[in-house]
């Protein structure tokens, strides 16, 4: 290898922080066995202690110290050879607490780089979530549910080493399988982990993703003003008052104005689905939502603003009516459109949509509680559909 290779791990704040750190350390320690140099670091502006917030960790491997210097005073590499996410819903986009806007999961991937995703969904579903790119890349799937591996209260599910084992396969320039296995053996002193890594190497296959494949939506952007344009005194304008909602002939209710630059929805892994026919207008969801996500409709029911919702589930917990607000796995949705407008447009179609979503609402499970649970889940999900190259 004569070039610097950059790997990023995109993860969920606090629950996957240790997992991401372990993966990046594993990469550098394995590369060290081949005489290469490396660094492992988190994106400094992120606030990974916050529950579920998207955050990043990096491993940079270089042939020598000199080559590494460019990366040693940077927050993140300009492009990555491998981007890893251990939570498939991060494929919908990454909005850091540090206010970088919504970054597509594959934004940093260089041409023909590899996106590694742990998921029980088929590859085609994952591609639909990822924003389109103008250059081709590859998608490698590792069957698995969102893992908390490395978090002290959860059992180790080997997600770290299963991802590490896949890396020599998807990027042979990074490190050989042998070095990776020896580093895993040294770092964790556990033969089972070595076996997991080797198995992952053997099973991992990469799918080609062509230019223009995926979610065509253009992520929102904003401009950063210069010092001559900014108001002095570290002051920013407050959010203005909101407006009534207009839909067809109906005008009424209240939609608060929201921060157009910071939306939070990429923190979400579950989404409330609202059955408006069941709503008793008690106001509790609207009152208790910590993020003021609910709009008051002209009918005094409460509509979810899915761009502002980070999926905490408080609304569903406080709702006194059974089946009125149900939390559903985010994987079941492809946009942030208004549920109330869909309800007003076609009540029958909406009713069957709600029924369908609620019937198919797998709770997102985190971590494993007994040996073999992982295999059961993979078998149940029927994941791992093979690759094309």
């Amino acid at each position: 290898m004569a070039r610097t290779i950059s790997v990023e791990v995109v993860y969920r704040g606090i629950f996957q922080k240790t997992l991401a750190k372990n993966i990046c350390r594993g990469i550098v320690l394995a590369a060290r066995r081949e005489g290469k140099s490396g660094i492992a670091f988190g994106r400094y502006g992120d606030s990974p202690e916050r529950n579920g917030v998207p955050a990043k960790n990096f491993a940079i491997v270089a042939p020598n110290e000199e080559e590494l210097q460019l990366s040693m005073a940077q927050y993140e590499p300009a492009e990555t050879d491998i981007t890893i996410t251990a939570d498939d819903m991060l494929c919908k986009g990454v909005e850091s607490w540090a206010w970088y806007g919504l970054e597509p999961i594959n934004e940093k991937l260089r041409e023909n780089g590899t996106l590694v995703v742990t998921s029980t969904l088929p590859a085609q579903e994952i591609i639909k979530f990822c924003h389109t790119k103008t250059t081709p890349y590859r998608l490698a799937m590792i069957p698995g549910i969102p893992s908390f591996s490395g978090l002290w209260v959860y059992k180790d599910d080997h997600t770290d080493v299963r991802i590490l084992g896949a890396l020599p396969k998807v990027c042979p320039d990074l490190v050989t399988l042998d070095s990776m296995l020896r580093a895993i053996k040294d770092e964790w002193k556990d033969d089972l982990k070595v076996t997991s890594a080797r198995r992952s190497y053997e099973q991992t296959v990469a799918h080609s993703v062509g230019p223009g494949e995926g979610n065509p939506e253009v992520p929102y952007t904003f401009d950063l003003p210069g010092w001559t344009k900014m108001r002095e005194g570290v002051t920013i304008e407050g959010i203005p008052l909101g407006e009534p909602i207009k839909f067809g002939d109906q005008i009424g209710g209240y939609r608060p104005a929201r921060n157009p630059y910071f939306k939070k929805f990429s923190t979400r892994t579950m989404r409330p689905v609202i059955d408006f026919d069941k709503c008793v207008k008690c106001t509790l969801c609207w009152l208790q939502c910590p993020d003021a996500c609910f709009d008051v409709t002209p009918e005094q029911t409460y509509d979810l603003n899915a761009e502002a919702c980070c999926g905490c589930g408080v609304c569903s917990a406080v709702c006194p009516v059974s089946g009125c607000i149900t939390m559903v796995n985010e994987a079941a949705f492809h946009d942030n459109k208004s549920q109330w407008e869909a309800y007003k447009t076609d009540r029958q179609a909406y009713a069957s949509w709600v029924k369908q979503r609620i019937a198919n609402q797998p709770e997102r499970s985190h971590g494993f509680r007994y040996r073999g649970q992982y295999e059961e889940q993979v078998a149940r999900a029927g994941a791992g559909d093979g690759g094309d190259d």
Partner: protein
């Protein structure tokens, strides 16, 4: 022990490599040298050091009194008092946390307490920001603290050992602040060689205050009230200690090279491609990383450029630095700090460099820059821009009368 058996011991106890950050490296150093008292109060990015020490103690690898204070002010006071009774003490902070401890920081040098503190350099809030900016540590530049800036995790570990050696020397007995750039050093793990404890033992003698120790066997009063009749003499003593530190530092680096085999050259600053350089940039901390890369690129293009990284800011080696810099056709100074309203509207370092060069017979133009504030990345194009302006000054032979901000949105 004769020379041969000493060599045998060293071979048996070879260095080990670990993947750790700069602040973790300081924590490891504290374990190697058996620091007695560690006082802590969390603030990012310094907190990575206190967390790592807490882990080492919890794992049974380190034995020390670990005191989590209720504020930085108490944190520095406790460490200061521990140092007075003869305990080797370590603390640290960042940004406004360091400022909150300022009363304790200000009184430590006169009391001749060799406290060592890691400053994880951080912008002073408001606005709330975590990124590196050197104004926090530099706020204490005139008080009698020794100040050093490091640029790698390895240097952080090694410099911590050296800092104690110099600070605890009876000729010095001054506190020392080790500045590590927030994020780039405190939150980035790189491969660090960890020396065996036996080498550290050979390098660093036990801390002994002699007749200055606060102990029932040595009844003394520390810091009684004084007026104009005493204070100037006390200041002059502290000043002498700082002057002495220059020579003691050189001794320490020489011994360090002998025992650990790592050569840092002259202790006070590091030169990069200066031998045949026509123009150079001067800076501190991890700014060195993009500058080194840019220097190599510019040299490939045939430009004779170099870099001087100031390591020890206090004591400042004005003589050797001045002599070195006066050799070049022009000198650019990149400050990761500001000193608003100062001469040339420049940063702190630029005016120190101007002062150092002024005493030389030959005065190359000096061009000052402010860059990388709040931790903004100093990019390769930014470094090129600074070299370009320095080149211009070399060609015209005149120093600009103002400071350029590099990498700021207008």
């Amino acid at each position: 022990m004769d020379a041969e058996s000493t060599t045998a011991v060293k071979v048996a106890a070879a260095e080990q490599e670990a993947l750790i950050s700069g602040s973790e490296a300081v924590a490891v150093a504290s374990k190697l040298m058996d620091v007695d008292v560690i006082t802590a109060y969390p603030i990012r990015p310094y907190d990575t050091m206190m967390q790592f020490i807490a882990k080492q103690i919890a794992n049974g690898e380190q034995d020390a009194e670990y005191v989590v204070a209720e504020s930085e002010h108490s944190q520095f006071e406790i460490a200061k008092h521990a140092s007075a009774v003869g305990a080797r003490a370590l603390c640290g902070s960042s940004g406004v946390g360091w400022c909150y401890a300022f009363e304790a920081i200000a009184v430590t040098p006169a009391l001749r307490l060799p406290l060592v503190a890691m400053v994880g350099n951080r912008a002073l809030d408001d606005p709330g920001a975590f990124g590196t900016e050197h104004n926090d540590a530099l706020a204490a530049r005139d008080l009698g603290w020794m100040h050093v800036w490091v640029d790698t995790a390895q240097e952080a570990l090694d410099t911590t050992l050296i800092a104690y050696r110099v600070a605890e020397d009876r000729r010095v007995l001054l506190p020392c602040a080790i500045s590590t750039d927030g994020a780039f050093l405190t939150h980035s793990q790189s491969l660090v060689k960890i020396p065996p404890k036996s080498w550290v033992g050979e390098f660093l003698p036990p801390y002994s205050r002699g007749n200055l120790v606060l102990h029932p066997d040595n009844p003394i009063t520390i810091a009684p009230q004084v007026n104009e009749d005493w204070l100037m003499e006390i200041r002059r003593q502290t000043d002498q200690a700082m002057r002495n530190a220059r020579g003691v530092l050189e001794e320490a680096y020489r011994d360090f090279r002998r025992i650990f085999g790592r050569d840092y050259g002259t202790p006070f600053f590091e030169e990069y491609h200066t031998d045949d350089a026509e123009i150079v940039l001067v800076g501190m901390g991890t700014l060195s990383m993009p500058v080194r890369v840019a220097v190599r690129k510019l040299r490939e293009e045939g430009q004779k450029v170099g870099f001087v990284r100031i390591r020890w800011f206090r004591p400042f080696d004005h003589e050797r630095l001045g002599a070195l810099l006066s050799r070049f056709q022009a000198v650019g100074v990149a400050d990761r700090d500001f000193s608003m309203g100062s001469p040339y509207n420049s940063g702190v370092l630029a005016n120190e460099v101007r002062a150092a060069v002024y005493g030389q017979p030959k005065h190359p133009p000096i061009v000052s820059f402010i860059t990388g504030l709040g931790g903004r990345e100093v990019t390769i194009p930014s470094v090129r821009e600074m070299f370009d302006h320095t080149r211009e000054a070399a060609e015209t032979g005149t120093s600009p009368t103002d400071t350029r901000w590099i990498g700021v949105r207008a």
